[in-house]
């Protein structure tokens, strides 16, 4: 049985995580990443509400109403977990102790600017912890569909939506490609099997520099 598109993206994102990393996973596809973290490494998942060391989802009827991740879902703890208040939770982020955050996006641009919290006049949910994460994590990985529902590119020359944080994104993972943000611009490093470089370029507004060592990802 092959992986769905969301799972492919999550699996690729999990490759970014190394032993000992402190990781924060946003809601949506990023949450799926935890299923693909290598079993031979030990990482700590951080939850904004005030908790380091998220474990797997509990069995039904084993949920604890006071043990909930930042997305609002029941969870468990791993060995070495700790609870703290929300100020301490963001102290961990703000002081640069978070190795990786994996977030969704509405738009990303050539400079690595990220917009993922507001569509003025339409959807104004608030930024939650998104600005802290995007601004302060050592590495920001964006996992997003390559285009929006209307087929418009989400990887833009310049973000048009209000920003979450400036020049924060390090890596973009979509269902088509993996793109690195560098000072030289966006580098197309990898494509998923089933697409082509031309398709990726045609569905991207931003300029892409095609890597000389382009990897084609074929899981399984």
């Amino acid at each position: 049985m092959g992986l769905g598109t969301r799972e492919l993206m999550a699996k690729r994102a999990a490759e970014e995580i190394s032993n000992g990393n402190i990781v924060n996973l946003g809601i949506g596809i990023p949450t799926l990443v935890s299923d693909f973290i290598r079993s031979d490494i030990h990482v700590f998942l951080h939850s904004e509400n005030g908790f380091l060391g998220i474990g797997p989802k509990p069995a039904t009827s084993k949920e604890d109403k006071n043990l909930i991740n930042a997305g609002g879902f029941p969870c468990t703890t791993v060995k070495g977990a700790s609870y703290f208040d929300s100020a301490e939770s963001f102290a961990i982020i703000r002081s640069g102790k978070l190795d990786i955050t994996i977030l969704g996006a509405l738009e990303v641009d050539e400079k690595g600017n990220l917009a993922n919290w507001i569509v003025p006049g339409k959807r104004v949910p608030g930024m939650g912890g998104g600005m802290d994460l995007a601004e302060k994590a050592k590495k920001v990985v964006v996992v997003t569909t390559h285009t929006n529902k209307n087929g418009s590119p989400k990887i833009k020359k310049i973000c048009s939506l209000p920003l979450t944080a400036q020049t924060c994104v390090g890596l973009i993972i979509t269902e088509l490609a993996v793109i690195e943000v560098t000072e030289e611009g966006l580098i197309l490093k990898e494509i998923f099997g089933g697409t082509t470089v031309d398709e990726v370029i045609s569905r991207t507004e931003a300029s892409l520099i095609v890597s000389k060592n382009l990897r084609v990802i074929n899981y399984e």
Partner: protein, 234 residues
């Protein structure tokens, strides 16, 4: 076990509720409703006080946490980080019936901590280059720009704890801690709903999270328990 009310802090719920009135600036513990007192939310709805200013992490869900108070039309303003889980909050905002001031989550936590710690403000560089800058003073420290984020305090804070002793020393339960220790410190009148009240000396001094010095009123009891979203889904 006899509980001596040595400090007079243990009160009936109606005595505690006397502090929550129309137009009260009310801060609440909780994150997605977890760690918000069901009992005190229920009492606020029963009392039907109006034009509250709410300060807290998020607007809960329509039937969970502070979301119930919002859906009951009791808030005129909210200082928060996220209202996405409560569509009614978004509608009230769009219709101009509830003013919303957004703060990044870590900034909100530090602003509340600053209010509870007697600071005049904190300098934070989250939100630079975004609309969060608007209306805020930018202060340079060693040639780097920071936003001057002002402290937040409330007239009344509602806190949900696992155990309180009679002085108001508190411990919390797992992720229900979240904003509660911050709210306890940043309110002129701190009302704690403790699941259990124990005599002085029962809590290990090493494990106390909130020293009782910050707590004014302790209530206990059942009431208002909601069904969680994940229970509703099942």
């Amino acid at each position: 076990m006899v509980i001596e009310n040595t400090f007079g802090k243990i009160k009936r719920v109606d005595e505690a509720m006397a502090y929550i009135k129309d137009k009260t600036i009310l801060m609440f513990g909780g994150f997605g409703g977890v760690g918000t007192s069901p009992l005190l939310i229920d009492e606020i709805i029963k009392k039907d006080v109006k034009e509250l200013t709410l300060i807290g992490n998020d607007s809960g869900f329509p039937k969970v946490g502070i979301g119930r108070v919002i859906c009951n039309g009791q808030a005129k303003k909210m200082i928060t980080t996220h209202i996405g889980s409560n569509p009614v909050a978004g509608e009230l905002m769009t219709e101009g019936k509830m003013e919303i001031e957004f703060s990044p989550q870590g900034t909100l936590a530090e602003r509340i901590r600053a209010g509870g710690t007697g600071l005049g403000g904190v300098l934070i560089n989250v939100g630079l280059g975004t609309i969060i800058e608007e209306g805020k003073e930018i202060i340079q420290v060693d040639d780097k720009p920071y936003l001057l984020e002002k402290p937040l305090r409330a007239e009344v804070g509602i806190v949900y704890a696992k155990v309180a002793d009679t002085f108001g020393n508190l411990i919390y339960d797992k992720t229900a801690r979240n904003f509660n220790p911050l709210v306890a410190k940043a309110s002129d009148v701190t009302i704690v709903h403790a699941e259990e009240i124990v005599p002085l000396g029962e809590l290990n001094p090493e494990e106390i999270i909130t020293p009782g010095v910050y707590v004014d009123i302790i209530v206990t009891g059942k009431g208002g328990e909601w069904k969680w979203v994940w229970e509703q889904e099942n």
